[in-house]
Symmetry: C2
Subunit: 118 residues, 2 copies
Amino acid sequence: MTLPHPNTDQISLPIVLGVLGDPTRLAIVRYLASKEGAALNCSQFLDLGSKTNLSYHLAKLREAGVTRAEVVGTNRMITLRRADLDARFPGLLDSVIAAAVDDPALPAVGGHDIEVPA
Amino acid sequence: MTLPHPNTDQISLPIVLGVLGDPTRLAIVRYLASKEGAALNCSQFLDLGSKTNLSYHLAKLREAGVTRAEVVGTNRMITLRRADLDARFPGLLDSVIAAAVDDPALPAVGGHDIEVPA
DNA sequence: TCCTTAGTTCAAAAGTTATTGAACAATTGG
DNA sequence: CCAATTGTTCAATAACTTTTGAACTAAGGA
């Protein structure tokens, strides 16, 4: 049971940019980058949408070549394809992540975005 | 007669990425980068689509803060907002342009993409 | 085995974006 | 003034994307 991923040389610039041009997906990528190394399952992202909706967004990221999903039991362990993206589009992912980290408009994963005082 | 542009601090990462996630617009940006300094009018891009369609794509780029359009007579002189984008998202535009330059799938402006021999 | 957990798939609805042609406005040159 | 050039706007349509809920699969634990 392996999921389809593009090869490094099949990763397309406009498709990657288009896929990253969505706040939910950018938030996913930012969170993955902040947990670099760790493989996260989909449930980590439930703050960002419903289970079905995340399945959709995570599939988009995977099909574009931005993430890799490995099947481990009933889980899909998700990682950023950092090395592949760096090889294909040097510097792009780093600058996107750096900009995303500073973007207060993106939805947050660990949540607690803003606590409104009583 | 000046056209509306976002301020530098109003430029949004997901909007910029989304706008660049289109082959026609990426081709426009690539061409502008290759002619850095020169201000080009819209007709330069007619290889990429109809007049109306270009008007649409150029408006998207301008509204996202990727380009600046200055009205000069009946022309709109278009330039890349390189300094503003660099200030807001360091390294992003450079890496996108570098990747776009190498992308054979993007439509070409000076055209002559491939000449089919008789 | 049965139940739970993790995630997918499907079809429908809603929303957004791209493309087109016809009509329009503004400037410039004759 | 008249005509040509440059580009916009509008409405229609076509094409895609996002979101949803219900139904499903597959693995793991009691």
